[in-house]
């Protein structure tokens, strides 16, 4: 039909301006959405630099502790109070063994010459398995087992390799070699010493303690007929470990945490803020461009008011006329959306290659959520314009 009659009174500059605004807004919002998705993916990768949902808490150690006048354990009430914090998802307690133990490091025969015999007093702790950053294959122990799986902090082996070994002229130990080594553990228990063979099952970046399966700690404490002591350390799984309210709470109660993780948490927090700002600016631009489109649509209708009124008087229903305008916008917006996706894909690909140079690996393809987000915005813009057109045309019909 004769659409030229209704659409001929265009103003090219304002149309181009509105389109540019819409493209920019679409692009910014999609970019923010994609970036948010990318970073959440990075944050949720376990044991990654940026993951910081775990906090390890202990009470401040003061002279009073040394003198034995002050309990450094967490009481049940204190744990319950922590559980009630909105930022805290779950709380795990560190439980320690309470027997004296000696550890003697034994390495396989062929390596005996290089690595000297090491002997040390030792203690063990356990945390619920859900709080571990690694999940070793044989992470269990049952009474009667002589082999005891152990997780040691990565820091330990680093400390040995880069501190002790060079200074004493000792050879460095790889993680693989450490795992093949056996630690003879002599535990002083009621009814005589017991010997266990400790096998390193893995290295933890998250928890700086010598960890054994919970069953072992429970068993040894039962054997010694000791009541489980109040845990001196807690591990928290947090939604937002850098929340100021949580930090204030911890400070107030004299709890200390691992500061490095907090730094990461702050970085995480800042990144989120940057993305929220990006998302906010994108929203603003989208809304402004929607506004300019609505005004443009109203202008278009206003400029053709005579023609539209005549058509309505000839018997055209306003929705029939609306369809023509809407089709125009549909044709205008579809390439716009495709262009936004194209630019986003190119930009994202470039960003990913930049990040992979920095050692962060991301999937360069756009996520389904970004596609869906783009479609939602497209529908939002079009329905906003469609509704505005409908209202203006209905007003003319009366």
């Amino acid at each position: 039909m004769n659409n030229r009659l209704l659409l001929r009174r265009q103003s090219l500059p304002s149309l181009v301006l509105s389109m540019t605004g819409a493209l920019l807004g679409l692009l910014l919002m999609l970019a923010a959405l994609q970036a948010w998705l990318d970073f959440t993916r990075l944050f949720h990768d376990k044991n990654d630099l940026l993951s910081a949902q775990y906090l390890i808490l202990n009470k401040k150690v003061s002279t009073l502790n040394t003198l034995g006048l002050f309990q450094s354990g967490f009481s049940n009430q204190e744990i319950a109070a922590l559980r009630l914090r909105p930022e805290v998802e779950s709380v795990g307690a560190f439980h320690a063994t309470s027997f004296d133990a000696m550890a003697i490091l034994e390495v396989p025969d062929q390596d005996k010459k290089q690595v000297p015999r090491q002997e040390s007093q030792i203690f063990f702790e356990s945390v619920p398995a859900a709080f571990l950053d690694i999940q070793p294959e044989h992470w269990k122990w049952e009474p009667g087992d002589s082999v005891l799986p152990i997780i040691i902090p990565t820091e330990f082996i680093n400390l040995y390799n880069f501190g002790l070994a060079p200074s004493q002229g000792l050879p460095q130990i790889s993680k693989g070699l450490a795992e093949s080594a056996t630690m003879k553990i002599a535990a002083r228990m009621p009814g005589g010493d017991k010997i266990f063979y400790g096998k390193i099952a893995g290295f933890s970046d998250r928890i700086s303690s010598i960890l054994v399966p919970e069953q072992f700690v429970n068993y040894s404490n039962q054997l010694l007929q000791k009541k489980a002591a109040a845990p001196s350390r807690l591990i928290l799984r947090c939604t937002d470990p850098s929340s100021p309210a949580l930090l204030h709470f911890l400070d107030e109660h004299g709890y200390e945490t691992n500061q490095e993780n907090l730094k990461n948490a702050r970085l995480n927090f800042i990144l989120r803020i940057v993305m929220s700002v990006l998302l906010g600016i994108g929203t603003l631009i989208i809304l402004l461009s929607l506004l300019s489109f609505i005004q443009y649509a109203q202008l278009l209708i206003h400029r053709s008011a005579y023609e539209l009124r005549v058509l309505i008087h000839l018997g055209y229903y306003y929705l029939q006329l609306w369809k023509r305008y809407f089709l125009f916008y549909l044709l205008l917006f579809s390439p716009l959306l495709m262009l936004a996706f194209l630019l986003l894909r190119l930009g994202h690909g470039w960003f990913c290659s930049f990040l992979s140079d920095q050692g962060l690996v991301l999937d360069p393809s756009l996520s389904m959520d970004a596609w869906a987000g783009g479609l939602v915005l497209y529908v939002f813009l079009l329905s906003g314009i469609g509704l505005a057109l409908q209202r203006s045309l209905k007003k003319l019909s009366r």
């Binding site: 004769n2 009659l5 018997g315 229903y317």
Partner: protein, 213 residues
């Protein structure tokens, strides 16, 4: 379609001294297929009355019933249906699109109700002497020619009533007669009624009733 008028008066005329009118403030029935002449001097509301019947103006008191239905209760969709199937109107100010050709102007109506074929419309245009202007922009035509385009456009649809607002004001007597005879022929074929306004007496159509405002 029966048109009933009850105690009708446009709001702008309220309180103004009116001549003894046979239309305003009366109860009237305009029988389907009847030819009505509405005769009055300028500015007494002839166009207003047609616009009220056609649903363009709503600022009146009293009621207009179309086939028993109060016109005031009609929806926008209801009006557009009525204008497609039952009411056609030759506006006093013609309401053509000057930047479109004569044929494009007529097509708007034909696309809405594609009942009447192109050959027939061309035949009508030949009768009224504007067939040669088919592809000329309406704005380039003389007022008389434009008036004939408006008349033909109004005929290109089914209707029960044809509203003519001083339809021959720009035509000379012979051309007016030609147009009137075409209108009469189509009205008879469609068994439609006529509502024609005029400044004075005329015998273009065999009127059943003359109304004054």
């Amino acid at each position: 379609m029966l048109i009933e008028l009850r105690d009708l008066l446009p709001l702008p005329l309220e309180g103004m001294p009116t001549h003894p009118a046979t239309l305003w403030c009366r109860t009237l029935q305009l029988a389907p297929g009847s030819y009505q002449l509405i005769m009055a001097p300028s500015g007494t509301g002839k166009s207003t009355f047609l616009n009220m019947v056609y649903g363009i103006r709503h600022d009146y008191r009293g009621t207009i019933n179309l086939d028993g239905q109060p016109a005031g209760a009609l929806s926008l969709k209801g009006w557009s249906r009525l204008r497609r199937d039952k009411l056609s109107y030759v506006f006093q100010d013609l309401r053509l699109f000057p930047q479109q050709t004569v044929w494009q102007n007529i097509q708007w109506k034909q696309q809405l109700q594609p009942g009447i074929v192109e050959e027939e419309i061309m035949h009508w245009m030949e009768l009224l002497g504007i067939a040669v202007k088919r592809n000329v922009l309406a704005g380039k035509l003389s007022l008389g020619q434009q008036q004939r385009v408006a008349i033909i456009r109004a005929l290109v649809q089914p209707f029960h009533w044809l509203l003519l607002d001083e339809p021959f004001s720009h035509l000379d007597e012979p051309n007016a007669r030609l147009a009137a005879s075409l209108i009469l022929e189509i009205c008879q074929r469609q068994q439609a009624g006529l509502l024609m306004t005029s400044l004075g007496q005329n015998d273009f159509f065999p009127f059943h009733q003359q109304l004054t405002l």
